[in-house]
Symmetry: C2
Subunit: 176 residues, 2 copies
Amino acid sequence: MKRIAIDMDDVMADTSVKIIQCINERVHSEYSYEGLITSSSEEKQAFYDIYMANNDFLWEPGFFADIPVKTDAVEVIQSLMDHYEIFIVSAATEFPNSLKEKLTWMNMHFPFISWKNIVFCGHKHMISADYLIDDHENNLKTFTGTPLLFTAPHNLHIQEYERVNSWLDVKSRLLS
Amino acid sequence: MKRIAIDMDDVMADTSVKIIQCINERVHSEYSYEGLITSSSEEKQAFYDIYMANNDFLWEPGFFADIPVKTDAVEVIQSLMDHYEIFIVSAATEFPNSLKEKLTWMNMHFPFISWKNIVFCGHKHMISADYLIDDHENNLKTFTGTPLLFTAPHNLHIQEYERVNSWLDVKSRLLS
């Protein structure tokens, strides 16, 4: 059975939606996920400059507890489990408060995935799998299997990887 | 640079010492680590039966916070880092309260190991490394590199793996 490693933030969870909401609260801006997706590269860079200077909320208790689930993620991942070994692999050890919250989030939204198949790490290059679905190039570029780039506002400019825009795209790619 | 994956409990941390202390408090027994090491297989089994029926303390906040560090672990792991890529790989996702405590413990005793090189997981068979130092056969038997069994009271009967009895043994094996 082939193995798929699946990232959490901006792949299973709409983390950018929560980040944009937190940034708007901190700096009284009016960014939106859809606006960021369609904005110019200069506008995106302006947002990420603000984000890098105001992202202390990532370390605060509660940030990761109530992030919305990506559309179709539950149904497609449940279907993938009939054909693949699934590991959830989240780069989370930078955020000590996130770890228990991410486990609780997984149990709430993906109760069919065992704690045995959840991995919290920093680097991902020691993960052995056939596929990695991730939104960050730095995780995909060191992966030894087939990388799949899950579309997020911060990766629209990247051309080097096969791209999936949604969980229905993942379903077509891996279950057809 | 070759990669070593190192388990935490009963390899870097004297977890069995803390477990024995907790069991003695719960059932008013007088077990000791040294006594358990030298006891018969029947006596060991009697202890592990009591342990399996009274190990709820593993899920309680605080259990993993103050476990003693194994003798020579700090110095030998620091030396290994000059010659190997080191990952700490702890089967911890079964214990949600342990995760932040284990990160804090690592920062306290092994501040030279980055969060980027710490992995909390359930299964370990998707970890790719050249060596795995672990006290549990179920982790070693699915490992694709060279397994090294770190001696603990519960694995003295296992003959199938190369054994290291201490961190000075690890130093001799990997730095000679």
